[in-house]
Subunit: 180 residues, 2 copies
DNA sequence: CAAATATGTCAATATGACTGACGTAAATTC
DNA sequence: GAATTTACGTCAGTCATATTGACATATTTG
């Protein structure tokens, strides 16, 4: 398989110096990510939701018992931005909130069966595309791709992602929930 | 190097079935793309531009002499959406328009020196991140990553990207411009 | 009890996208 | 040469997602 953006566009020209390989990857990332999110967008549109809802639903599904503050850290948005999306998910009965066990100010977030059903559809669509892509990428490509994407993440963010659920407070609580 | 999202989050849970590897890549894609665009966002903010301007500037830089219609196809947006962004780029003297040689209805788009300067900064920042990431991904990872990202693109889009500048009309005109 | 924390909410604003309708100039077709 | 099509622009209204800033409420903690 050849690389479209290169094979088809012999006369491309980006400034002076920058490495053509990097520029190629910049374009591939743009198109790949756009179509990747497109899978989910189409499904979400049926429900009247958008990407923001997807992201929230995803992380609540992935890390049940997540608090609002955790979501804000993960998504890197303001609570005002989150509020509307989260309210709609709760109103749509995809997510439920409950006061924290030890700290009743906290709103622990959980996905309802309906939310799980939607997530299955979304993950299904996106996983299908990813499976196809990794399948076409050759043997052992999987690890290389994971390393690449991981290295693309801002070190700070990377650390946040990896350590977030290990933070004393959150980890303690989550373990309590997940290993009862 | 380990994979944060996996190593740090042993208790993750997404629905029932979906392959953990795919789910992991879904998350990595989210964070990787967010931080990747973040590089450019920070620079663009200095100029009062946004991602939309970046995309337009990128493709005009990459394919000089592009027509408005081509941009609409590439970006998959409406002309009304493009109009404001393009107008701002022209007003900001980053892009110039000129009537087509053979068809004077066309607006052939070109980047000005100022536009090139901005693009150099943007590409520089993004290329740096990509270089770092590919560098950390091991030998031969480059090809695997390109194949993966290419395969992630919707086949239709993929074809569009690869053939667009080979279309009789555009290819002819562009060749005339690029190989005078 | 006072202070800090977790969350919610009101209000105003920006960006980037959309639909629909209409206009204009130039090329193409009959 | 008139009619149609094409390339592009523009006006108007809307929506989704995000922002900043200010303030409210409940609960925990020192």
């Amino acid at each position: 398989m050849t690389v479209p953006a290169a094979s088809g566009l012999p006369h491309a020209d980006v400034g002076e110096d920058p490495s053509p390989e990097a520029v190629q990857l910049i374009e591939l990332l743009f198109f790949a990510y756009r179509d990747f999110t497109g899978d989910a967008d189409a499904i979400l549109a049926e429900y009247g939701y958008g990407r923001a809802h997807h992201r929230v639903l995803h992380f609540i599904t992935r890390y049940p018992g997540l608090r609002v503050a955790d979501l804000l850290l993960i998504l890197n948005i303001t609570k005002q931005s989150l509020a509307r999306v989260l309210r709609q998910l709760v109103e749509g009965d995809l997510v439920v909130q409950s006061a924290g066990d030890t700290d009743r100010r906290e709103r622990r977030l959980h996905v309802t069966p309906a939310g799980r059903a939607l997530m299955r559809r979304l993950v299904g669509a996106q996983a299908r595309r990813i499976k196809r892509a990794t399948g076409l990428s050759g043997n052992g490509a999987d690890a290389a791709i994971r390393r690449f994407l991981t290295a693309m993440i801002e070190p700070e963010t990377r650390e946040m992602v990896s350590t977030m659920l290990n933070l004393p407070k959150l980890s303690k609580d989550l373990n309590g929930e997940l290993q009862p």
